[in-house]
């Protein structure tokens, strides 16, 4: 590739961030929107030029700028999809903060653009230390976004977010240093092929798990998430739910599974157990929340639990399903937070009981909200269905018990989401101020309509999103298949009958 498009995608938002700080004030909004849209265009070009079925790593760039590690970028289909998710959500985040953020606008916009740089860097890094730098650096802008522009209890939430995630990742650094010393390279594709001994794999896996489990977040490391979500501004929540939570899943799929297949198989029971608890427990917790954002935050934990189970199912459906849920959840939960933001901007409360009957005075809003609610539940035709179906099918092959329990998550999900929707959009208009709210404005249309379109696209024709990832997931499956734990599903294939199932036995004397 001649044009270093990945570097360009890092530099455009970076330049935008610096420009935001320089121009200051309200103009920063326009600069930020321009920079994120330009990055999105680059992202579209990236996808358009990505050769499906081509080399595993495309758009590779390498420069030996630093000692001990190199500036190496490159993407495969999995990275491509996650980069697309990030660059797609970013302009929407800027729009969501257009009016909601009034203090220190330029710094806010700069922080978001820096987040975008780091997220693209995380998914594109091909050097394990470069990855770590981007991965850890995302703490700084997120800490500021929560702490400066967050809600009342923002200080507590920002500390919790920072220290939890930092503690998770420092042990991973030690593991990375050991791996690089052992394998003699910090190149991620090379490390993905390196055969680590079974003994060290255990410890390395646990160190990586400490980091990714906090990021995903898996029960019981999830407690930072509801706090951070509730206190963050709307756009902050969108980025948290939409992209930052995906870092954990990406970490599992890029590091834990291919680098330590044996340990992944040994610890699959742990992931299954924690995820099963998460699905049931956090869904029940979501059911009783009085705060809309908290409810969606807990539902995120439940959805991400299905992702982790799918990843550790050790088969193609599970992996594909997990990836689709990650993309779908990024869009849907992001959109749900935006929906919360829309009414929060009008009434300045997230308390569910303060709303009611919004479908009367905000019909378009109610339609969008309904669509995203259904997508969150996993209704066929929406992106949620594709992901959950694929991953549960994959899980069923690995363990029918786990599949059984995880499926209750869908039922519980329907319960809490529909309950939420009923209380907000249906029923009588009990609160006068809520009843007087105006329907969504053009800016809000521009935020919600694109997400709705993609949610439907992914639900109706998921092949567009699966095709780029197929070869990479197949390669990953081939790498981990030998280590796959024995499943308890015991699916006996049986021998096919000679005749069709509806064939009529003429010889038996039947007359027609």
């Amino acid at each position: 590739m001649d044009f270093p498009i990945l570097t360009a995608m890092l530099l455009v938002p970076l330049a935008g961030a610096i420009a935001c700080l320089i121009v200051g004030g309200a103009a920063a909004r326009v600069v930020a929107l321009g920079a994120t849209l330009a990055t999105f265009v680059l992202g579209v070009l990236l996808w358009a030029n990505y050769e499906i079925g081509g080399a595993q790593w495309q758009f590779t760039e390498r420069a030996e700028l630093f000692s001990d590690f190199s500036y190496a970028l490159g993407i495969d289909g999995i990275s491509l999809m996650l980069i697309m998710l990030s660059v797609f959500l970013m302009p929407i985040c800027i729009l969501a903060s257009w009016e909601a953020v009034t203090k220190r606008v330029s710094e806010y916009m700069a922080a978001f653009l820096l987040m975008e740089v780091l997220m693209i860097g995380i998914f594109a890094a091909q050097d394990i230390f470069l990855f770590y730098i981007f991965f850890e650096a995302s703490l700084i802008p997120m800490y500021l976004i929560i702490g400066v522009w967050g809600g009342d209890n923002r200080i507590y939430a920002s500390y919790k977010f920072f220290l939890y995630t930092l503690f998770g990742s420092v042990l991973m650094l030690i593991a990375m240093l050991w791996m690089v010393a052992e394998a003699g390279t910090s190149d991620i594709p090379a490390l993905m092929e390196y055969p680590f001994e079974a003994g060290p794999q255990t410890w390395l896996w646990l160190a990586f798990f400490a980091s990714f489990a906090v990021k995903v977040p898996m029960w019981p490391f999830h407690t930072w998430l509801p706090d951070a979500h509730v206190q963050a501004p709307t756009a902050g929540s969108v980025i948290l739910a939409g992209v930052l939570l995906k870092l954990g899943g990406y970490g599992f799929i890029r590091f834990s599974l291919p680098m330590f297949p044996q340990a992944s198989a040994d610890f699959a029971w742990l992931v299954f157990a924690l995820s099963m608890v998460a699905v049931v427990y956090t869904s029940l917790v979501a059911l009783v929340q009085a705060d809309m954002k908290k409810l969606i935050a807990y539902s995120s934990v439940a959805h991400m639990a299905i992702v982790t189970v799918g990843l550790f199912a050790f088969n193609v459906q599970g992996l594909e399903g997990a990836m689709i849920i990650m993309l779908s959840h990024g869009l849907v939960s992001g959109a749900l937070f935006l929906c919360v933001g829309v009414i929060y901007d009008r009434l300045h409360t997230r308390e569910i009981a303060r709303y009611g009957g919004l479908s009367i005075n905000m019909p378009y809003y109610a339609i969008f909200f309904l669509l995203f609610t259904m997508a969150s539940i996993g209704l066929p035709g929406t992106s949620g269905f594709v992901g959950e179906f694929l991953s549960l099918a994959g899980i069923y092959q690995a363990s029918s018990l786990v599949a059984l329990i995880c499926t209750t998550g869908i039922i519980l999900g329907a319960a809490y989401m529909l309950y939420l929707y009923r209380r907000i959009a249906f029923g009588a208009q009990v609160n006068d101020d809520a009843a007087a709210m105006s329907d969504i404005r053009p800016r809000e249309w521009a935020m919600l309509a694109p997400i709705a379109a993609v949610v439907l696209w992914m639900g109706v024709y998921p092949e567009s999103f699966l095709a780029p990832m197929r070869a990479d997931i197949a390669a990953l499956d081939a790498r981990i298949a030998s280590a796959a734990p024995r499943s308890d599903a015991n699916l006996a294939a049986g021998t096919p009958r000679d005749t069709n199932a509806n064939a009529v036995d003429y010889e038996g004397g039947g007359e027609h």
Binding site: L65, R104, E136, I174
Partner: protein, 492 residues
């Protein structure tokens, strides 16, 4: 070796000696009127001395050709690296001093005294000798020259009770430390029959006798005092808080570099054959410094005290590199020192810039509330320094921790590294508290005074080094540090 060659090797020191003595005379006769000129000349002399180091640094020197004056002094790459760092930090601290002392409401007793640059020169000279010592006598001479100047510097604001108290505390405890060190040296001399590093090393081969072991431990304890490593760290917060801020900035950088370099030289060159005897001690000291430096800082309200604990914490990480006891560890330690100096100098200069209209400094958390609104550039720079001290990428402070842990892990001390890095998360707590106070809290609106150009230059320069741009320096820095560390192990 003839004297001419020896003198050629110590040319930077000669420059400092001559300048220091000449300026002392100027200060004695012309008084404080010429203080500013004295400071400018002192800075130029340090620049000149630093310039003389460049060829040696570039080429790398080790071996017998670096010994001067009958192997009392050794000017190898390691000494050159340490000296360059010491001169640079001394320049940084001198440059920012006049604006501090000469603020408007300072009054007669606060003005910049002509002795101040002279004392800095002599302290720097002492450090220069320390890091190039090849004999316990040279070591002690350099150490005391540095310490005596430092005691006076700590109490240079003689009307200020805190400054006087800091000077006295520093003197009493420093003298105690010197005594311990001297006692250890005398034990070693008694049990080995020499004060020369190489001769002592040869005599220490094989099983250590009890006397030799005692000597080793006393020497290490004395040095731990100088680098303020736990459990000999108690003086640091008091002295850092009481001393005038430019002096504190000086204490936190140049003497730290010198003492750490000296410690490295002693443990590798003198005790290099007895790694097992000191490795455990250094490992314990390192971990204890990391943990106590972090825990002690949590309750602090005074920013200078907090930075004092932060320096204890950082010394712990530096000692991790020492505990590895190989070239990679020593090299990582030197890289860490460079980055640490940039971070500390930057943070202290930022503190120097926070003052009210009268010129009095602000020193507590309450004073810097909402600084991001009132003084955004200072606040952002401080944010850089704090995240960098906490070791969060992409700031350069991460790279310093990275190389240290890389060396530790490669040497197989994985559990040790894991404990240390987990403890570093405790430290992150108070660094991000700094950011929280500046960025999240409502402005207190008390920082009003303006700052001098020199402050801005140093602050922005350090911030640029610490910023992600600093990673572009890493190949050159690693190269220099590797040469220096290689020279340290040349004798082995």
């Amino acid at each position: 070796m003839d004297f001419a060659a020896s003198f050629a090797l110590v040319l930077p020191e000669l420059v400092l000696v001559v300048t220091g003595l000449a300026l002392l005379l100027v200060a004695a006769w012309a008084g404080d009127r010429l203080a500013r000129s004295v400071a400018i000349i002192a800075v130029s002399a340090l620049f000149g001395a630093g310039f003389l180091l460049v060829p040696g640094l570039h080429l790398g020197t080790d071996g017998a050709g670096t010994l001067a004056f009958g192997s009392l002094i050794k000017v190898d790459s390691f000494a050159l690296f340490a000296k360059a760092l010491i001169y640079l930090s001394a320049i940084g601290c001198l440059v920012v001093a006049p604006a501090f002392f000469n603020s408007e409401a300072a009054g007669v007793e606060r003005g910049l005294r002509a002795e101040y640059p002279v004392l800095v020169i002599f302290a720097t000279l002492g450090m220069s000798i320390m890091v190039s010592a090849a004999d316990f006598m040279t070591l002690y001479l350099g150490l005391e020259l540095n310490s005596l100047a430092a005691y006076v510097l700590a109490s240079i604001l003689r009307q200020d009770q805190r400054s006087a108290e800091a000077g006295l505390k520093y003197f009493v405890l420093g003298a105690l430390a010197s005594g311990i060190l001297l006692y250890g040296m005398s034990l070693l001399y008694g049990f080995t029959g020499s004060t020369d590093f190489l001769a002592v090393r040869l005599a220490l081969s094989g099983e250590l006798s009890t006397g030799q072991l005692f000597g080793l431990i006393f020497v290490l304890a004395g040095l731990a005092f100088k680098i303020s490593a736990v459990p000999f760290h108690m003086w640091t917060p008091d002295v850092y808080e009481g001393a005038p801020t430019p002096v504190t900035a000086f204490f936190a950088t140049a003497p730290k570099v010198a003492a750490v370099a000296l410690t490295a030289r002693v443990v590798f060159e003198v005790f290099g054959g007895q790694v097992a005897a000191w490795q455990q001690i250094v490992m314990f000291t390192a971990l204890a410094s990391i943990v106590f430096g972090a825990l002690g800082a949590i309750g602090q309200e005074n920013l200078k005290r907090l930075l004092a604990y932060s320096s204890i914490n950082n010394v712990g990480f530096i000692l991790l590199g020492l505990a590895v006891a190989n070239v990679a560890g020593a090299s990582a330690m030197l890289v860490y020192l460079f980055i640490y100096v940039a971070m500390s100098l930057g943070s202290f200069v930022a503190l120097l810039m926070l003052r009210d209209e009268g010129g009095d400094l602000y020193e507590t958390f309450a004073d810097i509330r909402g600084l991001a609104v009132t003084r955004p550039v200072i606040a952002w720079s401080l944010l850089f320094f704090m995240f960098s001290l906490a070791g969060i990428p992409p700031l350069l402070g991460f790279y310093s921790k990275f190389v240290i842990f890389q060396a530790t892990v490669e040497a197989g001390l994985i559990a040790f590294a894991a404990i240390a890095i987990a403890a570093s998360v405790i430290g992150a707590f108070y660094y991000i508290k700094f950011v929280k106070v500046m960025f999240f809290d409502e402005p207190a609106g008390v920082v009003t005074g303006s700052s001098g150009t020199a402050h801005w230059v140093v602050l922005l320069l350090m911030a640029a080094i610490i910023s992600p741009l600093g990673y572009l320096l890493t190949p050159a820095l690693t190269d220099l540090a590797d040469k220096a560390a290689g020279a340290l192990f040349f004798a082995v």
